[in-house]
Symmetry: C2
Subunit: 310 residues, 2 copies
């Protein structure tokens, strides 16, 4: 269903309640927001876009960028794209087209426990975005501060166990590049959980989809692509086997016929360049090397999508 049948206030289904469905202001409200887990690769490491909260709760804490769904005006996808454009500061149409056109945006999952926001019941639809190296976000637009943070600097443990709302995690002046913070940052609300789910998703998705290319510019080399996999999976891959394997998957990459201008920073021949092929699914998949300790204790289903077949 979409909207009908018993409205929120419990009780038998009477006619007046039926009609009440047409005026939702009459009963307990729910807020709908959209949050974005935006990932990019900088200096060879995976980074996530965060904003610093300027007001309670969790004042001074970092949080995922997001905002209210504009009711009646936009879809969830549109709201996510809008929030991301606002928060990255890529607001001008030209820049947004240039930098965000290659952006991949997909729904991650929806989080809606009543107590996740102390003020009211908030249902947040989380999105996952991958983009090639983006510039530092322009402040002044929205949040107090926005910055790319290395994922490895964040505390992603199960939950914000100590819900001491508003404690500014001692790393206030972490700097705009987020790389000088002292200890692991804790995120506001249940954003650590959302980010963890997003990381699980992107790690899984690299296996059976060609989305690693969304982290790279239009033309790239096989070693570039390998660097994406190594950063996201946090594992070294065998260069030779990786190279052969990528080329063996139909539709993954297409040769441009040219090579890079220079060799690698530390020597080596010039690499050939490629761009993304037309495959939407990798066949066969690029399976992650089996981790011994992590045999079966992965999350088989935490929250949201896939629909990817193979």
């Amino acid at each position: 269903m979409a909207a009908d049948d018993q409205p929120p206030p419990t009780g038998p289904r009477a006619e007046e309640e039926w009609l009440a469905a047409y005026d939702p202001r009459a009963y307990t409200p729910v807020a709908v927001t959209v949050d974005v887990v935006a990932l990019t690769l900088r200096h060879g490491g995976l980074h996530v876009l965060l904003v610093e909260r300027g007001a309670p709760p969790y004042q001074g804490c970092w949080a995922l960028p997001g905002g209210f769904l504009r009711a009646g005006e936009e879809s969830l996808d549109e709201a996510a794209a809008r929030e991301l454009a606002e928060e990255t500061g890529l607001q001008s149409a030209s820049e947004a087209e240039t930098r965000l056109c290659r952006l991949h945006l997909e729904q991650l999952g929806t989080y809606g426990t009543p107590e996740r926001d102390p003020r009211m019941h908030v249902v947040s639809v989380a999105y996952l975005a991958f983009a090639p190296d983006l510039p530092d976000p322009q402040a002044g637009t929205d949040a107090a501060a926005a910055a790319w943070h290395p994922v490895s600097d964040l505390d992603l443990r199960p939950c914000g166990r100590s819900r001491t709302a508003g404690v500014p995690a001692d790393t206030h002046g972490g700097g705009v590049d987020g790389r000088t913070g002292p200890g692991p940052l804790t995120l506001a609300f249940d954003h650590a959980r959302i980010l963890a789910d997003g990381l699980d998703r992107v790690r899984a998705k690299l296996e059976y989809s060609p989305l690693a290319t969304a982290f790279l510019p239009y033309d790239f080399t096989i070693p570039d692509l390998r660097a994406v996999y190594e950063a996201v999976w946090d594992e070294k891959l065998h260069p030779g086997n990786f190279h052969r394997k990528v080329l063996s998957v139909p539709g993954f990459v297409e040769s441009t016929g040219t090579t890079t201008e220079r060799g690698g920073a530390r020597g080596g021949p010039r690499a050939r360049t490629y761009h993304a092929g037309d495959a939407r699914l990798l066949h066969p998949a690029l399976l992650r090397p089996a981790r011994e300790g992590t045999a079966d204790d992965d999350a088989a289903d935490s929250t949201a999508d896939d629909a990817g077949s193979r």
Copy 2:
């Protein structure tokens, strides 16, 4: 973020708007509902639970069971479980425990285009449920009628292209078992899309998760399990290879040491029985046979979850 920063009405971020976030009744409302794609196996075929709408819009059409999120009272998961229990008529605590305890419930995705419900902006969080053969739903509880419909009888084309709201698809008296309908049924709202996404998800999930066992009673045979795969994938599988493969995946099934009482309906030896093992991910996966025509045109990412690794 969860709830803060600019409230829906556009404009610069002023203090009064900030405070307005604490009284969401002040601006355009959004309704949050939860819809469930409940799948079960009956007579060897995949069936979905539908309810017949008793009021406009789409009066007389079939729709996914669902209802409003009870703001402040329950999480999304709880709302989905509640709706499913209500709609299947398994309301009594004992029955619900007996029949729904083995139920698998996971979030599918969230649908929120402004025009998906003609009355107002409704954001629907869709869930996917698998269960062993369930009884026919008890009417009288909620919707006008609820019934299991063979998935093959439904029209799942891209969209409800003819949005002629309220036309009762000529199959009004299709019967409670939903198997005597004349033509393919069309679903209300965007429920055809949601169902299609759910089917994509379950088909993909059988590959790398042991969830096929959620369609079966506690004890089952390998041929039972094969029947689940064949019904969901709509493909015949090689009995010998399937049998060996299932047994070769660690943690998929565990032998009970006994066999069925009788052989197959049409002859054959008694099969050994098993129950689900403790693996949460299949390793190696049971890959679907490659369809020639469907090489790459699957949906690589339509809407929501996974977080399943491999």
